[in-house]
């Protein structure tokens, strides 16, 4: 048997043995058995010197080729084995990904806060800044200066909580709407133009039911200047409706009545629940009331410090709770002020 034949036998035996190996310990042993300094190939190579000189270079090349082949086979087998080992380790480390995660404890904002922010953000983009005014007001500010004198039938529109005051003192009440803020804001700005949004809590003397609360939020906006028209009011409210309910939202402007605006208007948007076909929520009308608005009444402008022959302006108001209820399908307004976390946790 020649050295070359022996080498071929060793190569064949090594490759056969390698294919059967599947642990990192055994492959290490294999490596030292065949490729180590005392391995089979090293031992055989020592016999190269016995070959005739002219055969040595070819035999040397053959040895190198076999070594390289076995090195490569080793690397490949080792990669397979370690990959299998890692795979097994991963298997042992695997989790049931459907098990619940570790939830960070994060609280939620009140849904009314969210909607108030949406509304004020939309109007901020149109140049309206937030203006806040007191919740406890005088009868004069809540009604009188807004062109709602005592004994006016329009007073029926606002059931009022009055605050106990000394006999003969001016009547004090919980504001029934954010509109007294109009007067505050106008007086603070006149004779300069004003464009503000007035969010806040309001109160009505009303039995609490699923649809009515004694306390609620309102957002009111006013714009007063020398060139403000009813058409501007329409454009502003349509802009708002398209921001809140999507571009192309259908709107309807209906004449209405508020003592502090003339002309007065009610803005309806197409019911987004039934797309105008009529459903329980829109009382089959296909429309949802969104905002009461109008051109500020000349008397109110004058009370705010503006000359109504020179200045004009519009005002609008809306109820964030109503918008919130429609947005989220809430059927009972009483949850809003319950502080019940089963309710609060449902929002984002």
């Amino acid at each position: 048997m020649t050295i070359i034949d022996q080498l071929a036998d060793i190569e064949q035996a090594a490759l056969t043995a390698l294919m059967k190996i599947d642990t990192s310990e055994a492959i290490g042993e294999w490596k030292s058995n065949y490729l180590g300094k005392q391995g089979a190939i090293a031992k055989l190579s020592r016999e190269l010197g016995t070959l005739p000189g002219d055969q040595r270079p070819a035999a040397g090349q053959r040895f190198n080729a076999v070594r390289a082949a076995l090195d490569e086979a080793f690397a490949s087998r080792e990669a397979t084995i370690s990959s299998a080992a890692q795979h097994q380790a991963f298997g042992q480390d695997a989790v049931d990904v459907t098990l619940p995660g570790r939830l960070p404890v994060v609280g939620r904002l009140h849904p009314s806060t969210r909607v108030l922010r949406m509304i004020t953000d939309i109007f901020a983009d149109m140049g309206f800044q937030v203006w806040e005014s007191p919740e406890v007001e005088t009868d004069t500010l809540n009604f009188g200066l807004l062109n709602i004198p005592e004994d006016h039938p329009a007073r029926d529109m606002w059931d009022t909580f009055y605050v106990e005051t000394a006999p003969g003192a001016e009547k004090v009440l919980l504001r029934t709407h954010t509109s007294p803020g109009q007067i505050h804001a106008m007086r603070a700005h006149a004779p300069h133009p004003v464009r503000v949004i007035l969010p806040g809590k309001c109160y009505r003397y009303e039995q609490v039911t699923t649809r009515h609360e004694m306390m609620f939020h309102q957002v009111e906006g006013i714009a007063v200047g020398q060139h403000i028209t009813f058409s501007d009011l329409k454009g502003t409210l349509i802009g708002f409706a398209e921001r809140l309910y999507g571009v192309g939202t259908k709107t309807r402007f209906r004449p209405s009545y508020f003592p502090f605006t003339e002309p007065s208007v009610e803005l309806d948007v197409e019911c987004f629940l039934c797309k105008g076909k009529g459903c329980r929520i829109c009382k089959q009308s296909g429309w949802l009331e969104v905002s009461g608005a109008g051109m500020i009444h000349p008397i109110v402008l004058r009370n705010g410090g503006y000359d109504p022959d020179v200045f004009s302006g519009f005002a609008f108001g809306m109820g964030p709770e109503r918008i919130t209820m429609l947005r989220h399908g809430i059927d009972d307004i009483r949850w809003f002020f319950s502080g019940d976390e089963r309710f609060l946790q449902q929002f984002v």
């Binding site: 006016h152 464009r195 306390m215 200047g225």
Partner: protein
């Protein structure tokens, strides 16, 4: 306002489908709330026009086999003879009379007709089927009002008037549509059929027909028999009276009753019904007195005397004073003017002669009286919104005509008509420029005239861009050019006006830091795991006392004069009581709670009638620190340090440094687990609020389970004033070196004292200080505590050497030991 279409058509032609009309009305400010169909295809109970018919009952005889049933012979087309079995009690009296000399008109339903079951309370539809009833075949029915869906009445069959045409379908005879319209306070002119018709005529381009009744009169002139004196002319601008003699009190005619019912009023008798009918038709409330009860036939309109009384038709007695207005005779009050009649002159079955009043009153006096006496009536509703003073004469003619026709009255010629104050006519100049300024659209004077004239405004075009507008007497709501602009916009169509983006100068913009910070605090607190609540601003003293009995001092609170309930009677002075009530509910329902609220509280001020409304933030946390899960089945319970962590986070996020935390002796908090937040300000130290664990007694008063409840309430507006913008500090490129230091000191030496001392002696090289262990144990000695700190040193300029750190450590230990008495733990 309920408008039966058949009635409306007397005054205006309705040429468009009802749904289209409803939309037009809604879009012009008369919001249609419901459309009710009676009998028609869209009705809840449609009357089949071939099966439900007007019939004649020719004969009534006893059922051969049943005492309580009768057999009616019915003619429903000319010459037909159909036997119907019925138990209607109102037919018993005709039994055995043979052919009725005066046949009865009723409603006949044939087999296949769908009707309501008269025998059950609910509205259940049944289809009429032929079947023998006690041996007699019955395949048709005589109907009660209930079976036809007209009312709940099922005592007997519906008897129609004699002129009802036999064989006509009931649908054709009395089928109708009623439109219910929400009339706003400025739309008083439409609180009548003619008013609504006038509006509809203008909106649809149809002509309007005002009725013009003629009255046959005889006998003495009313002006010679009665006298009217107005002692309060400013409160009663016009008063008219007429006299009708020899009236017969009886039910009003069927058609009138139908109209009243459809309009939402209950028929009473002919006199009352005629009065209501004319009010609904013309919008003129009126009153009928028993003329023989009017002393000296002299009506006096005057203010009440002190301590005068009147008993009104509803049986109540009202105490009067001179601010009240009465219609009296020479001896006593007869009615509360425009609000309700008195019993003494009430029309009764014995009444022979009536005096009919139609007047207008100053709206505010009516409102004041109807409010004071809680007498809101259809009349007062109209008077307080304003009644057309020029409609009175027509109303009197209509009243007299109906009393003549349906109460057999003899109408006295003449109308007593006292105009005590001139009716002011309003004239307004309207220009195209003004309309453009308010509405944003150009209209010529001619166009404006075309829009306003159909509504009854008297328009005279002066120039191409100016017109004079005379306001009709029924438009008391119009007094400014703005009112006319609304009418122009309404007639033009709100939806037809342009929509524009404001081109006016943008007002000066300013910062609103307080609001931005308030939003930020909401975000910080919700990020810290707290849910935002909004609780009622209204509360009770009992609730305030639950937190701290000393807080239940009524004189400190704003109290409602008209609370809805004792639970919501006072304006809150603090947020925590209402927030704790919510928290208690959450603890019961979920075993934990983490809430915050930002809102105002209301503090009475000695020098002002309005309270201060400072902004507060309140926090409540209790129960498990995190939700129990498979990761951690029983998380630890929240305690003092959870709320303190939130407070520290809040101050850090707001970059507040001018603040310190110190022990608190607040009564609502558990002693030893109570702290206060103190701000250093230009005017000295200010307490911003307290936090800690709720006192167990308070916790029990709120009915909370025995867990630690961590609470806080701060003056948010004060806190926000201390906020700062973060300053960047440069980040070192050099490595850090850390040292652990355990110091033993008496427990009464606060952790903050020791930490402050470390910081002082460590100087600028100290990068961070972290307390990582607190230990008390017998081996330290009684009353002693070990605090272990990890100090990290780092320089921005160089790497700190080991010997440098060693020296610094020794310096810190010496300094702290000297300053605080602490000793390095051995």
């Amino acid at each position: 306002m309920r408008i039966p279409l058949s009635w409306l058509r007397e005054y205006v032609d309705v040429t468009i489908p009802i749904d289209e009309l409803a939309e037009r009305l809604t879009r012009s400010g008369l919001e249609v709330e419901t459309i009710e169909h009676i009998g028609g295809a869209q009705a809840e109970l449609p009357w089949d026009p071939t099966l439900v018919l007007v019939c004649n009952i020719l004969e009534v005889s006893q059922h051969p086999n049943a005492d309580r049933l009768v057999l009616a012979t019915v003619e429903y087309t000319l010459g037909s003879n159909h036997t119907v079995v019925t138990g209607a009690p109102n037919l018993y009296q005709y039994k055995g009379l043979g052919r009725l000399t005066h046949p009865l008109k009723s409603v006949f339903a044939r087999e296949g007709a769908v009707l309501y079951d008269g025998h059950v309370a609910e509205k259940v539809k049944v289809t009429l089927k032929g079947k023998p009833v006690r041996g007699v075949m019955s395949d048709a029915m005589l109907c009660s009002e209930k079976e036809l869906g007209l009312s709940e009445e099922h005592e007997g069959i519906l008897i129609l008037p004699d002129d009802a045409p036999v064989g006509m379908s009931l649908l054709e005879y009395i089928g109708d549509t009623v439109v219910d319209i929400d009339v706003l306070p400025n739309m008083a002119r439409t609180l009548s059929l003619v008013g609504m018709a006038r509006e509809i005529a203008a909106l649809t381009g149809q002509s309007f027909r005002l009725p013009n009744p003629t009255v046959a009169s005889s006998g003495a002139n009313a002006n010679d028999t009665i006298k009217v004196s107005i002692a309060a002319p400013e409160l009663c601008p016009r008063f008219t009276a007429s006299v009708v003699r020899n009236v017969t009190i009886k039910p009003s005619p069927f058609w009138m009753q139908r109209r009243l019912i459809m309009a939402g009023m209950r028929p009473i008798n002919n006199i009352v019904d005629i009065s209501n009918y004319v009010m609904l038709e013309l919008g003129t409330p009126n009153h009928t007195f028993d003329a023989d009860c009017v002393a000296e036939a002299h009506i006096v309109v005057r203010n009440a005397n002190v301590d005068e009384q009147i008993k009104t038709l509803d049986g109540r007695t009202h105490m009067l004073n001179p601010s009240h207005l009465l219609v009296c005779d020479t001896t006593q009050p007869l009615s509360v003017a425009g609000v309700m009649g008195g019993e003494s002159s009430e029309v009764s079955d014995r009444t022979k002669n009536v005096l009919v009043e139609a007047a207008v009153w100053e709206p505010t006096i009516i409102r004041r009286m109807s409010t004071a006496f809680k007498l809101r009536s259809e009349a007062s509703k109209r008077f307080e919104r304003g009644v057309d003073p020029e409609m009175l004469e027509l109303a009197q003619r209509r009243l007299c005509q109906l009393l003549h026709d349906y109460a057999d009255g003899v109408v006295a010629p003449g109308l007593v008509d006292v105009r005590s104050a001139p009716i002011r006519q309003i004239s307004i100049t309207l220009t195209s420029a003004e309309v453009k300024r308010i509405l944003g659209l150009d209209f010529t004077a001619t166009k404006l005239c075309d829009l306003l004239t159909p509504l009854g405004f008297g328009c005279t075009v002066n120039t191409s861009d100016s017109l004079a507008v005379i306001v009709p007497s029924y438009r008391r709501d119009v007094s400014h050019t703005a009112d006319l602009c609304e009418e122009v916009a309404r007639m033009f169509g709100y939806d037809n006006l342009p929509s524009t983006i404001m081109a006016d100068e943008l007002p000066a913009q300013r910062t609103n830091l307080a609001l931005e910070h308030e939003h930020f605090v909401r975000d910080v607190l919700s990020g810290a795991g707290l849910n935002e609540a909004i609780t009622y601003s209204l509360t009770s003293l009992a609730s305030a006392a639950n937190l701290d009995p000393a807080e239940a001092e009524a004189t400190n609170y704003l109290r409602l004069a008209n609370p809805l309930s004792s639970e919501r009677e006072y304006m809150r002075r603090a947020i925590l009581p209402t927030l704790l009530e919510s928290a208690a509910g959450n603890l019961r329902e979920r075993g934990s709670t983490r809430l915050f609220e930002i809102g105002r509280v209301y503090h009475r001020r000695a020098d002002a009638i309005l309270p201060a409304e400072p902004l507060r933030v309140a926090i409540v946390m209790a129960g498990q620190r995190t939700n129990a899960s498979w990761h951690d089945a029983s998380p630890e319970a929240i305690d003092f340090f959870d709320i303190k962590g939130v407070v520290e986070l809040l101050c850090e996020r707001l970059q507040i440094s001018t603040i310190r935390i110190a022990p608190s002796d607040a009564d609502s908090l558990q002693p030893g687990r109570a702290a206060q937040l103190i701000a250093r300000t230009a005017i000295g130290e200010v307490v911003i609020g307290h936090f800690g664990e709720l006192h167990p007694l308070a916790r029990e008063r709120f009915a909370m389970p025995a867990v630690r409840v961590a609470v806080a309430e701060f003056a948010l507006d004060t806190l926000l004033e201390l906020a700062n913008v973060p300053r960047y500090t440069s980040i070192s490129r050099y490595p850090a070196s850390s040292q652990d230091l355990a110091l033993v000191a008496p427990v009464m030496v606060s952790a903050e004292t020791i930490a402050a001392s470390i910081r002082k002696y460590a100087g600028a090289a100290l990068n961070s200080i972290e307390l990582f262990d607190v230990y008390t144990g017998a081996n330290l000695g009684a009353g002693m505590r070990s605090l272990a700190y990890r100090l990290t040193f780092r320089s921005n300029e160089r790497t700190l050497g080991d010997d440098e750190i060693t020296k610094l450590r020794a310096k810190i230990i010496r300094g702290v030991e000297h300053e605080t008495g602490a000793k390095l733990r051995s």
